[in-house]
Amino acid sequence: MTHTPLNVQELRDQLHALATRDGIRQWDLGASRGMNASVQVDRGEAKQMKAAQRSSITVRVWNEQGLVGVTSTSDLSPGGLEKALKGAYQASSFGNAEDIPGFSPLATAPIPELDRPLKPSQSIQTLLSTLKDVEGELLAKHPAIETVPYNGLSEGNSERIYLNSEGALRHMQRTQASLYLYARAEESGRKPRSGGAVRVALGSADLDLGGCIQEAAERTISHLNYQPIDTGRYLVCFTPEAFLDLLGAFSSMMNARSILDGVSLSNKESLGQQLAVPFFNLHDNGLHPAHVGAAAFDGEGTPTKRLCLIGNGTLENLLHSEATARQFGVHPTGHAGLGAKVSVGPDWFEVSSSKGSSQPAEQLDHRNASETFVLIESLNALHAGVKASQGAFSLPFDGWLVKDGERISVEAATIAGDIRDVLKGIVHLEPNEVVTHQGVSPHVWVDGLAITGEA
């Protein structure tokens, strides 16, 4: 499963010729192309095998008044390019004169070298055979595990381009593979329970299959013994995955675009203010070695870099595009998309504790704490239960009530609170920082969060 890389020079020449013909002096383009293959199985049989070839381009143009228009298409042919350029020019007459994006001043700056070798793909039959074996091993882990209803093994290669009329030219290729396993277990007279695990790697041959099987089995089995929980306030420990999900849902607190739009809990004066407990640090690091999907540049061609967002509990920096950076008088940070109104988003969070800091509850350890607490394994329905502009969340979760060292899975419960209270109510960050497929974080302890259960 390979494809011939995009001919960047040819693409630039075509666009330059079309733009010159139409009198368009300023333009830029983001393009991507990729191929992906995936398989799913069901109790030893192939369920579905899929492959996809995808391509897309987004063209921006600046018209005579300096207003910006944009158009996207999946048609990378010369005809598609021409139509996209025309569409962008037409749209530019509706450009926002109050907020005009420009080229990133860093679009031609050196980009970081990523140590991400391109991995060869395997045949789809090999993927299928592998996933059948993986499913079989997971089913054999426990008699109550009857099916693995959600499973998938995929791999793909892709490339991204950014180029503009001032000579910027970025091009990168990467490969990526993933495995997910969500098992369903049921014991006689009891409700079905589920648990899962995910692994990512640069190539399918590099995936930690055994680790994924073991984790999915352990998580599923750990939920077989379940009980309803009493409604009340609890000492809570978030697993790294759950805490990173929660932080991600409220990343608008650190997003300059959201601040300018008035939908963030932060404002222009928030920089330098205390956002979290003094021993809490948060970086965004799209270059982390474990970040399989790392990109060397963002949608505007700005190089990716490690950025301190919260240091010792204080908001130190924001995520920026070119336009927001200009308004704040700083450099873009490498977190932009590409569009008429450029979106800004986080890449890969790293949560850590300040070295040498004292924490209110340093004795807490989720593996052997003597206190009664709720261990939050994962948060669900973040798209529905998070009000980012209000700071509020009310979310169903999977997890356990841990009492006297014994873990009992919690049946059907929600956890609710305010992200500001959570960040300022952290009582302990465990010393072990765990690398997950979505970021790095230790287990995070917060006291007094509201949990509603069925008991």
Binding site: Q53, P192, S394, L395
Partner: protein, 481 residues
Amino acid sequence: MVETHPALNQTFTLDPSHTPWKDRLETLLQTGVRAGADLVEVFLERTDHIGVLAEQERITSVSPSFGMGAGIRVFLGHRDGFVSTNDLSESGLAQALDQALAMLELEHNALQHERGFEGLRQLRDFGAKKDAWLAQSPELSEITQRLLEGTARLDQLGQHLEVRRGSFSRDWQEVLVAASDGTYARDIRLHQSSGLSVLAAEGEHRASIARRFGSSDRPDDLREWDVDAAANEVCSSAATMLHADYVDGGQMPVVLANRFGGVIFHEACGHLLETTQVERGTTPFADQVGKTIANPAVTAIDEGLSTGAFGSLSMDDEGMESQRTVLIEQGVLKGFLSDRAGELRTGHARTGSGRRQNHGFAAASRMRNTYIAAGPHSTDELIQSVDRGLYCKSMGGGSVGPTGQFNFSVEEGYIIENGQLGRPVKGATLIGEAKEVMPRISMCANDLDLAAGYCGSVSGSIFVTVGQPHIKVDSITVGGR
């Protein structure tokens, strides 16, 4: 660059009178069948989208896009292989078919069957009278003007509004479906969605309220949109919710409003009545047809026929004409929503429910316009029957997990005390399991109404309608603080 067929590149169209398409599709299907496939299906699409955002008094984003692509699916026994591509050249499609055949260990040119297929039947052209829809829908200048009217009305009607937004999206899609069982059908779809949203703030108090409206196959929808009514509804809710307290969680009876209240049935039960869930073994209702699974007060329907509704469609994405499917009748399970693969793997007959976001997804059994039918009660009777509980006037999104546990959020709630509506509350999330909740829907009012929404699942994000009359659930877990 992607290789393209010069003729297609210049005149790309799915017009059935464009002879090369039919010839080319028949060649592809013949090739697949001769290689040993039980069935080959080709889905071609062309799309044209525009999204516009107004913030305060300005248009801040205009995002047009267009595209085309194909999805080729090959069945062999209960297995299938699916390949999607943006490359609609002759060689691109042939390569995609080869790849799909190879997934099932079938080889192009390895003549497995002397039989071919008997050719495509006469085209069923559901799009014949819809060719002008794209041109008839509003131009950019009209769209921007309507949205700015909306944000201006919000400014006039609202208080403490820090953010005012109006948004619009138009999705036009032309599809052509051809399969080796002779299916040959074309359609044009037009979905338009308009919305208003605000963020109100005063001191530490904040409330964000949004309302979205959507239609299918109505080019004039934006022109006919009642901006005043929409702005009034949003501002009224924002004013009410700005100082609302967070709800106290617990088990309690709830009354759910009509329109988007229907998300409870969509999440709690609708997904579990799709044959994709039967295939996975993740529905508790797999062997319950003919049995009582809900309160006798509940009759539930899924259909694609309501004129102009967001989830309506003339044909599904497998070329089958839309239907009305009774899912539950007076509490008794009557049937499932099924697509081609669902029929093959579960035995439930196809219901015209094979849907997909675009050519990048294989079709799957999905909901269309799904609602609980009206009952005999008035809304007041439902509220008066509750001593202490929650009235959910406006709902947010929701989801359902692999064990059938569902959830959805409440945007605007009110405490019910002694049969009367009380103070507003926010921050509620309702969770439960279908098997437990469906028997607890004990009363249905007589005010059925529908609301447009988007549903994300195995075959991508699709346009749907949810709906219900006001209903009462005797007891459910209300997550709060």
